[in-house]
Symmetry: C2
Subunit: 205 residues, 2 copies
Amino acid sequence: MKKAVITPQPARGPVDHEVRDQIVAAATEHFSRYGYEKTAVSDLAKAIGFSKAYIYKFFESKQAIGEAICANCLREIETEVRAAVAEAELPSEKLRRMFKGFTEATLRLLFRDRKLYEIAASAATERWSSVVAYEERVQALLKEILQEGRQSGDFERKTPLDETAAAIYLVMRPYFNPLLLQHSFDYTDEAPGQLSGLVLRSLSP
Amino acid sequence: MKKAVITPQPARGPVDHEVRDQIVAAATEHFSRYGYEKTAVSDLAKAIGFSKAYIYKFFESKQAIGEAICANCLREIETEVRAAVAEAELPSEKLRRMFKGFTEATLRLLFRDRKLYEIAASAATERWSSVVAYEERVQALLKEILQEGRQSGDFERKTPLDETAAAIYLVMRPYFNPLLLQHSFDYTDEAPGQLSGLVLRSLSP
DNA sequence: ATTGTGACCATATTACCAAATGGTCACTAG
DNA sequence: CTAGTGACCATTTGGTAATATGGTCACAAT
């Protein structure tokens, strides 16, 4: 039996197609330069030399284009943080890096790519599938670290893993969710350190 | 030497005056029924049977009226939570109640008095003095609980008190800051419990 | 002095209409 | 059949003129 891959937005048109990439490229350019709202779909069409209608052969909406770009951003952040985590030896250090990494990466998204923030905000409020998937991957990374720490004896083993993971996720959430981070600028310097400290104390065997 | 009381908004006109209370009462009524933005200062004037100009003898701005009301709300919340905390015997239970209490009270503010949310939001974003004071009082309450727990031997004593308090405050913040709570509705049921658990684990001696 | 106001000003908000935009579809070219 | 489009529609958005609002002040009544 074939496993049915449920694409939340049933992709329109050929999934692997040069034009699809052109659209995403043009959109990335335009969205980050002029902003999501200020960019009209016909602007993207003009940029790649096709008509607006053709774009809708590949994406079912403007938001779908935004989703694609958003997914890329989130992938980038995740990759970067995973790399930083992998560099560390000790599970405790991994956890610290995860926290700091996500905070810094999200912060950068908000400042450096200020124009992309609109998308990130919509994505988070409306819970686009790319965001849901991202959150799940973050939780997965967290669980990996926790389990490693449990196996090595660095972390306590009494509390159920799922509970620990859920709680730590809640602690971290305000620092990698753009909507929340926005209201925590005053704390971004110390928060990752202080909270990592607290979390690690809670994990001590 | 007289202690100079620094009122952040140098109160205008007689501090204790019947009309002042009438204004606050009318504003509470109007703001919570029609919303802060939709209420004009002249509406309040009409409601209490004076001219708009007279209101400005008591408050230096519409926002100042909002501040007064906001301060009342926050006082109420604090009183309620303090009562719930006082009921508990053990420091750990106090901490749990504090967390749960603030979450529920803030949530109620957002739902029951939906119209007042506008004020709360402005107050939080613009860091009105009533909010700053409130946050300080919350942190004070937290420190009280922590010290009691340290004295009774329920909580660890190695980590500096200020550091512990700061970290726990950061954990709680998303649940009594209306701006943040707004983005955490999905978690308000489990979060206080799970996070209290984590925090208490981090405090174990 | 205290209580109280109408007239006034600059800015913010509303109401309105024209232009722009997201999105579809029947259709053409090869 | 695939690649591609102009013309079209409903809804948003932008711009603007009229109105409403926050806030002040000189002044009146007690």
